[in-house]
Symmetry: C2
Subunit: 393 residues, 2 copies
């Protein structure tokens, strides 16, 4: 286990009706004029917007609204929010939505006080934010873990490049997690969210390091929770226990638990390959991960059979495979994972998901732009990225 | 899953050599004059004391020393620390040791600013601390989780009553967790610490609530880690990976993870019964838990067989029992747990541990002082407490 620092300053209010905690939470963090940021109309359709506005009024806090933040949020939305904060002297950001809205708000939080240039300086690492505007979140989609961590992914440029921002000041001051808010999600988004949570857990699990048993055993437990509860939530959309377990597992996967702590940093290829698919045709992130993961696993088995142990452990400890031969166990685990993806109605392949075959090499090259071969278990270069895309096609 | 609030403000510096983070951590939290508190001589014997003093000197911070804090820390030590803080205008408490030292320091932290009476007012609930002195910890024993939570247990009076104190201001500001500091522990303390961690996990696990799968699956993973690594640490005391896993599991068990969140509060009888054994003859807390747990489990099976499910789940998901009948599975699980206690050299029974038989009823009555029948799965009253003590005798 490597050395690490563990720190999660975010205060989580978890459960049905926790929106009532909003006024006190805003006041505790010094909010006087709020940027209320959200995406499309779903929070209005399902009443979350009304509840948030009611609590802002209860708190007696004036607010301005930034709307229309898109999935795979773009730097243009970030700039819009920055301008609002500066022009209207807003001092707190309230993100209401899923990971896209929260990530956009984090970039706004870092960019608004940065007066030496455009926010792209921060997103490209040319400059580092000195201060940040405090932000809080009201989560409506269990997927990214952004509600409990200090990272953000922003899309920029005509080539839809994904840029990553981390800053200690970007932990939400508080996050309100109400499983009932996630119960109105369409089945497709529920399934894609579950696939995303599972992939976050897998990319930590498949980045093995000596002696990280605490991390790996907790991770296995969380993967089981996601596998079980995604199917329940799809079969019974109003099952709040299933929604609560998916929601809390997603926060634990990327944030509260910080399962990656004590392991080496290792860019996980499936996420980067998936980002390129999302950039190409706005494919939902979780869908791209579901399509690519089994292909990546098979690549590991073919190219680096000496690294089969974590795949075999996944098969046995998460997918209940009892086979004693590692290679056979891993194969059975992959098969069971694919069956699960089918049961939650993921598309069967990239073709079905609308990706043109003649773009696969282009996507593979894009993954490797500015990057050396990377990733745990089997290093990914452009050729291997293409192999994964083709196998998933 | 019940509603809950999750908040762990403590910053953890985990790993070998993290003592180097001490000067910056102290300064970040405004320390100018430090109370350095510890127990017996073991931190001097093994060099931890020298490292701490070196870093205090590196930070240029003057300090006063409170020494001789005993296991099952007494209110007299608390009062001594309070007097030192007041007389010498100290503004930060650095606890170096295990749970006893940290708990004592938490009571000092609450009591020093309390000028309206004696610290017993706070320990008995007669008054509530308004402010607290900030504290940090350097942990030398993986067991209680006190390094990452805001609770303390203090012993007071001629009858060695255990008093419990909780306060939001008692989270350590930082905790330094170096697995190498735990590698010098005598085998007996290593084993007792592991038994304590396991019992903390079990008392959360055996307090079942609908829909708490995230909590229960992570808990099962952590129990496995403790079972595996305790034996490794006993066989190879210098195995830092095993020490690291025990250490991080203990923090996750009671603190970072807050596995109890989302479950109803339920006083767990084994801990209270164990406290009385410790009060009687200073029996190490973990030893008392190991002796009482199987007897409590068998009581559940006899008195409330309708509550067998969590015991059967424990047997299957943690102890690798494959039996399909719940009652038989639970019995096998208890047997495997007892075998594990034997393998880590716990005493076989209370008699062997030096408890006089004629004290058993007295202990049972003490457990129930001021208490209604309590505890999950099977309610404990004085008669049932006596049954547990007798079965463990």
């Amino acid at each position: 286990m490597n050395n690490f620092t563990f720190h999660i300053p975010t205060q989580v209010h978890f459960g049905v009706g926790q929106i009532a905690a909003l006024p006190e939470a805003l006041k505790a963090h010094g909010a006087t004029r709020v940027l209320l940021a959200y995406g499309g109309g779903s929070i209005k359709k399902y009443g979350v917007y009304d509840e948030v506005v009611r609590e802002l009024n209860n708190a007696g806090l004036p607010f301005a609204e930034l709307t229309g933040i898109q999935p795979n949020p773009r730097v243009e939305s970030v700039r819009e929010g920055i301008t609002m904060i500066r022009d209207q002297n807003l001092d707190f950001i309230l993100a209401v939505g899923g990971g896209s809205v929260i990530d956009c708000c984090k970039a706004i939080a870092a960019g608004a006080p940065y007066l030496d240039g455009d926010v792209m300086d921060l997103l490209t690492g040319k400059a580092m934010a000195q201060t940040t505007v405090p932000l809080g979140t009201v989560l409506t989609l269990a997927a990214t873990g952004s509600e409990l961590n200090n990272g953000a992914v922003i899309t920029a440029g005509e080539d839809h490049k994904k840029l990553v921002l981390f800053h200690p000041g970007l932990f939400p001051r508080f996050s309100i997690l109400d499983p009932a808010y996630t119960a109105t999600l369409p089945p497709k988004q529920t399934a894609a969210g579950a696939a995303d949570i599972l992939c976050h857990l897998m990319e930590q699990y498949f980045n093995p390091a000596p002696g990280t048993q605490v991390q790996d055993r907790m991770n296995e437990g969380l993967m089981r929770v996601v596998l079980d509860n995604a199917e329940t939530a799809l079969a019974e959309p109003d099952n709040l226990e299933a929604r609560a377990n998916l929601l809390w597992a997603s926060s634990m996967a990327l944030a509260g638990l910080q399962l990656m702590l004590g392991k080496p940093m290792a860019g996980f290829p499936i996420h980067f390959l998936g980002h390129e698919l999302s950039s190409l045709n706005d494919m939902t992130h979780g869908v791209s991960l579901a399509l690519l993961t089994p292909a990546w696993m098979r690549l590991v088995m073919r190219e680096n059979p000496e690294n089969i142990a974590p795949l075999a452990a996944f098969a046995r400890n998460v997918m209940d495979v009892t086979e004693s031969d590692d290679m056979t166990a891993a194969q059975q685990g992959i098969k069971r994972l694919e069956d699960w993806y089918k049961r939650i109605n993921m598309p069967a392949n990239l073709r079905e998901a609308g990706v043109p075959e003649d773009k696969l090499r282009y996507l593979a090259d894009k993954v490797m732009e500015g990057r050396q071969p990377f990733g745990p278990l089997t290093p990914i270069d452009a050729n291997r990225a293409e192999v994964i895309f083709r196998e998933a096609f």
